[in-house]
């Protein structure tokens, strides 16, 4: 669910990426546009070779579009020098890959603190921030472990903590669950979802529909183009919509979205409105309607 901010965290506008030239040219991306706003999780799916990683690399300022524009927190990456891009990345975004890139000789805490120390933040501050980031992903108790002594899911959570440490608000993840079993992968997505529900923005490439389904929006690529997209839309994905977050904690924040929209049909009822209500009431009708 999008937060009301002035600009999207990420804006890709009519982006093309063509490798090589002339008859040998390979079009990796052919005019893709998407936005990721604070509060939103956007998933990218598509067959291999469809341009998913290319899109992510453009979004991360690791590569430049041949045509079109890419803006990170309102700043265009186009024509920017490598040093300026590196600074833009360091300030705003965290990258998570299938291969974790954790440093084996550093503890979880030191791994998470590393990007902040590279930012020039004093060690003590960097470690405090790293501790908070690990707490936020539920790994406070693993801070002193080395990566080899963490499970695959825990390592990926460390990578997410590292991506979000020090106020970075945009996470880009390329197949972050590729090496994990489905339920561990699901936990990783839940975590990213929760970070988004508190104002982060995320763009996640995955081939697992179950993991993609945590997104507000799923963009399907084919041959470098958007084939279709599924927009969960105005419905709040997480526990509450922003308007409810400001409301007094009387339980109303947990109320479900009202009917309409969710499935192009009567809305799916949300959780625990009051004790007497049935959690799945209305679901059958909502699911039956479109087909």
């Amino acid at each position: 669910m999008r937060f009301a901010t002035a600009a999207p965290a990420l804006a890709v506008h009519a982006a093309w990426r063509i490798h090589g030239a002339g008859r040998l040219a390979v079009t990796a991306l052919a005019g893709v546009s998407l936005e990721v706003w604070p509060g939103e999780l956007v998933a990218v799916m598509g067959p291999s070779g469809s341009g998913k990683s290319t899109l992510l690399n453009l979004a991360g300022g690791l590569d430049q579009p041949t045509r079109g524009d890419v803006r990170i927190m309102g700043t265009s990456t186009v024509g920017r020098r490598p040093a300026a891009l590196a600074q833009l990345r360091r300030r705003h975004l965290g990258l998570v890959f299938q291969e974790l890139n954790l440093v084996g000789s550093l503890t979880a805490l030191e791994n998470v603190a590393l990007p902040r120390e590279l930012d020039g933040v004093p060690v003590r501050t960097a470690r405090r921030e790293a501790g908070e980031a690990l707490e936020a992903v539920g790994l406070g108790h693993r801070a002193d472990r080395f990566p080899a002594r963490l499970s695959g899911g825990e390592q990926q959570r460390v990578a997410i903590a590292r991506a979000l440490v020090g106020g970075r608000r945009l996470v880009l993840a390329d197949e972050p669950t590729g090496a994990l079993d489905t339920s561990t992968g699901d936990e990783v997505l839940r975590l990213i979802r929760e970070r988004c529900d508190t104002g982060a923005a995320a763009l996640v490439v995955t081939h697992n529909p179950r993991h993609a389904a945590w997104a507000d929006r799923v963009v399907f690529l084919r041959d470098g183009r958007e084939a279709t997209r599924s927009d969960y839309g105005a419905e709040p994905f997480g526990a509450a919509r922003p308007a409810d977050r400001a409301a007094p904690a009387d339980g109303r924040g947990l109320s479900a979205p009202t009917a309409g929209g969710t499935l192009g049909a009567p809305g799916v009822e949300g959780p625990a409105r009051g004790s007497g209500e049935l959690p799945l009431a209305g679901l059958a009708a909502a699911l039956e309607a479109p087909r």
Binding site: P209, S230, L254, L278, L283
Partner: protein
């Protein structure tokens, strides 16, 4: 499935009144299958007629006699519940699924863009999976104990079915375009 077996399964836990049976059926299944009370009494009457359920005569009170009747399983009824749980459910409706039939007809039909049919379905099915995932997430966030509720199994069954449909759509696309890897 008729609600016969549902009511009998609940009676296997202990005797109950019609309204109690309705409430616990709906609680277990999370309200995915709302019952009306008339339907419940009608089914109980038939079960009594068939010798699967017995009644304890209603005592005095303001409520209509049916509402004051306590129902319980007979030994035959109990055996029928055991048989029902032991017997696998048939997958009968699958081959007549509208989506399968639609795609089978679309393939090779002039003027029909099968990829467009698949894409439209993919977006709609993903949206359903997003809605189910959101619903599941909100329940678990509001109350972690809901992970072990009977109705959560009902919800998760829908998640698995929807996920399978998306995988099948990818498979259809890969069949249409063999250069496309299934992921």
């Amino acid at each position: 499935m008729s609600i016969r077996h549902g009511l009998m399964a609940l009676l296997a836990e202990g005797d109950g009144y019609g309204n109690q049976l309705r409430t616990s059926f709906e609680e277990r299944t999370g309200g995915t299958w709302p019952l009306n009370i008339g339907q419940v009494y009608q089914t109980l009457d038939r079960l009594v007629r068939d010798g699967l359920v017995t009644t304890v005569e209603p005592g005095d009170g303001d409520l209509p006699p049916q509402a004051r009747t306590l129902y319980g399983l007979t030994p035959t009824g109990r055996a029928e519940v055991v048989r029902w749980f032991a017997e696998p459910v048939s997958r009968a409706p699958a081959p007549r699924d509208e989506l399968s039939i639609k795609l089978a007809l679309a393939m090779g039909l002039p003027g029909v863009d099968v990829t467009a049919v698949l894409d439209a379905q993919r977006a709609a099915t993903m949206r359903t999976l997003q809605a189910l995932t959101s619903l599941r997430h909100r329940h678990l966030a509001a109350d972690p104990a809901s992970a072990r509720k009977p109705w959560m199994l009902v919800l998760e069954r829908l998640v698995f079915d929807t996920e399978a449909e998306l995988r099948w759509l990818d498979h259809c696309q890969a069949t249409l375009d063999p250069t496309e890897a299934p992921r």
